[in-house]
Amino acid sequence: MAKKAKRAAPRRRKKKASARRWISGRFLAKVLAVGLVAMAAGLIYLDALVQERFDSHVWQLPARVYARPVELYPGRVLSRADMLKMLELMRYRQAPGAPTPGSYSVNGNQLIIHTRGFRDSDGGEPSQRLNLRLGGGEITALQAGQGGSLARLEPMQIGSIHPGHSEDRVYVPLDRVPPLMVKMLLATEDQDFYEHHGVSLRGLARAMVANIKAGRLVQGGSTLTQQLVKNFWLTQDRTLLRKLVELPMAVLLELHYSKDQILEAYINEVYLGQDGSRSIHGMGLGAQFYFGRPLEELEPHQLATLVGLLKGPSWYDPRRRPERSLKRRNTVLQVARQQGALSEEELHRFSKRGLEVVPRGESPLYAFPAFIDLVRRQLARDYPPEVLGVDGLRIHSTLDVLAQLAAEKALRDHLESKDPGGKNHLNGAVVVVAPTQGDVLAVVSNRRSREHGFNRALDAVRPIGSLVKPAVVLAALEQPKKYSLATIVNDEPLSVPLRNNEPWQPKNFDNKSLGPMPIHDVLVRSRNQALARLGMDVGLNKVAETLKTLGVQRDISLYPSILLGSLGLTPFEVAMMYQPLATGGFSTPLRSITDVLDKDGQPIARYPITTEEVLPQEPVFVLQQAMQDVVDQGTGRGVRAKLPASVKVAGKTGTSDNFRDAWFAGFSANHLAVVWVGRDDNSPAGVSGSSGAVPVWAQLMASLPQRSLSQKPPAGVEWVWMDPSGTLVSGEGCDGARRYPMLPASIPEEADRCGSRGGDKKKGVLQWFKGWFD
């Protein structure tokens, strides 16, 4: 204390001295001049700031990502339930006669849908009314606007991509802002908007009175222009300095831009709330965030809720503070009535409505983070970040919302039954692909699919276990003179000496060895020892080559353990690897994007289908047949609990050491799906492919429309009865004879005795009787 007093004394003396100089007129003039120059410079600076930011800011739109548009045409498989689910997800409103875009009506199996319309690289679709009839799980009739029988619903927006900032926006031009909203906005926020020049003395006076009354700062008295300045350039703090800068900036803004431009910027800029780290800016995004619909489609009470939020987005949050928000909304409605924007009857009617906000997180926007992550990566590969940020691109993706939801549900349901509540940290990933086009239809990377974070589908590199076995068998079948599905391999212990290591001695999962069996059974029953023997015989090099041909891009170390799937791949990479198996030997790069359009809907780039023949179709067809038996008789037969036998599908289970990873990868003619289940820390999860992954795959596939794999052998493959040794042709009904799809080079020239007589059905029956009586 004492020290402080001593120091304060000399300072006081100095102050007295300088105070004398203050009085000097010359000095005053100098200060004034300097002040004026500084002020002018300040103004010029502010002016430049205002113009630069205003001109560029409005166009800083994020890239928006859309799901694939739902294509409607007679014959399309689509259940009534799925159709209605889609309409609900897209926030179509049920209204008799579907009077406005974004509405629909249902009468039994008859639907009228008023679509919203959109632009696409083929021109897109107009907003139109569709007459749709559903029946027997498909669309039976469709009547579109100009007598056509083909239409698309607008693609659902599923997210936006920002190059670096977390700000989002749905830009709405002023002519598309509901006029009622503008009236409400002006009535509540700035009644003199069209009269003042950026600053309203009347408004300030009103605020001052209110502040004095309250004894603290309660009202800003800001005009819309000032609020915009605050939002654009300044922090939210109510400091005097901010106020001092805000005033000239508001006036400058009014000097340079028209009232409508300022209003449009305000409506698209204003802060309306927070969604985690994402700020909700602008009425367009606010409408999406709170009501799940475009701003144009909101009803008066919903518009009033948004306008009411301006007074305090968190204070009046309609989700967390519904009572407060409702009261505020009704005040806005009343003000709108006073201004003549609503009739008495409307005021009455809309004041009675609930808030009708959609539950948070239920909007399809931002619902599919794992898929959006894939889109982001594919875009980042092709576009520099600044292009993505500035242009407000429209990205048309390949996401099939129904497939995505089915995949999420299948994973969630199964893991919830295996590991309720996630106590055992069991998690998983699913990738669904349309194999012929390579379109990625769904990506799930978490049992809680909306959570961001580790993208297991794209980043979890896990040993693929027995998923590798089809590749080993394929490598064998590519040498048809030596191998066919009938070729016998021994399921017996083996020991492969390794340099600088213990010898490799693989075991079967049941710790048994079943002895000689055809390659067909090795795959269907997933026998490790037999397969290891086959792989060693074929050669590690050959197997690695086949894996590369199938699209594996990682380095493959030539250890014998790769034969049993020590190779680590992500679920997405497994989908790539199985894709040529599903298409009969064509490799098609997996794409998540089909088109990129600019903000006006003009096409900028296409990601066209490309395809390459990487494998001859004959061995692939033969392999597919064996993989179908995996599902019908083998380790994947759990699939049949959900999927009827009439739907021909093929696949393979996979389980890694100590039950750390459970896999199933399989396909029909139109869907290829890969399921992985395990733990993030790579500890044993106690799951096998059959128990951990097959049920997910089965449920997913059963809930999507499937086309069976073609059973027609290509020219060059025929079904042949083979004797049990796999070295002689046999005949139908002969002892132990089995029928296999064979390449001509695999078919032995000699037949067994029974086979050389062309087989003998009768003999077969006789023998059966003989056996009966023996």
Binding site: E71, Y73, P74, G75, R76, D120, S121, D122, G123, G148, S149, L150, D382, A434, T436, Q437, G584, F586, T594, D595, P603, I604, A605, R606, Y607, P608, I609, T610, T611, E612, E613, Q617, A669, N670, R707, S710, P714
Partner: protein, 159 residues
């Protein structure tokens, strides 16, 4: 890279080096000689009988004639989504890609069309010639000769 490919596509003169009796328009009808019951006629109408994809093929043709290749491509891909086993749609896509200057894709798509083609040597020969042209454009002379040989064999078989 993609943009470059598209630009290259614009710079390439459209060609119709595929010959055969199966014209360019999806509405062309082929009249098969009678007395060959096993041979199936191939054109858009036969391959996509009654399918809504036909309307898309027509629109694709219209867009292509106007030089709007990206719209044509989009229409064809939509048709393919509806009819993934249609040889004809793959054929149209292959021809479009060739005109756009993407011979590599054209080859793959034409081979896929062949894979799905119904029994019709004339049609298959035409597809092999498409493959040959695509291979030639990629500088694969040997592959082109091979494809052309297959086309000739098919034609001789039908002659």
């Amino acid at each position: 890279m993609l943009l470059a490919a598209m630009l290259a596509g614009c710079a390439t003169t459209p060609t119709t080096g595929t010959g055969g009796g199966y014209g360019s328009s999806s509405s062309s009808s082929s009249s098969m000689p009678s007395g060959e019951p096993r041979q199936q006629p191939v054109d858009a109408r036969a391959d996509l009988q009654g399918s809504p994809a036909l309307a898309l093929l027509d629109r694709a043709e219209g867009a292509r004639n106007q030089g709007n290749m990206s719209a044509a491509g989009r229409y064809l891909e939509r048709a393919l989504n509806m009819e993934p086993d249609s040889s004809w749609v793959y054929r149209q896509l292959a021809r479009l890609r060739l005109e756009e200057g993407d011979a590599h894709s054209a080859e793959g798509l034409a081979l896929r069309a062949l894979r799905l083609a119904p029994y019709n040597p004339g049609y298959q020969a035409e597809l092999w010639e498409l493959v040959a042209t695509a291979r030639e454009r990629q500088g694969d002379e040997e592959g082109a000769r091979d494809a052309r040989k297959r086309a000739q064999e098919l034609r001789r078989g039908t002659a």
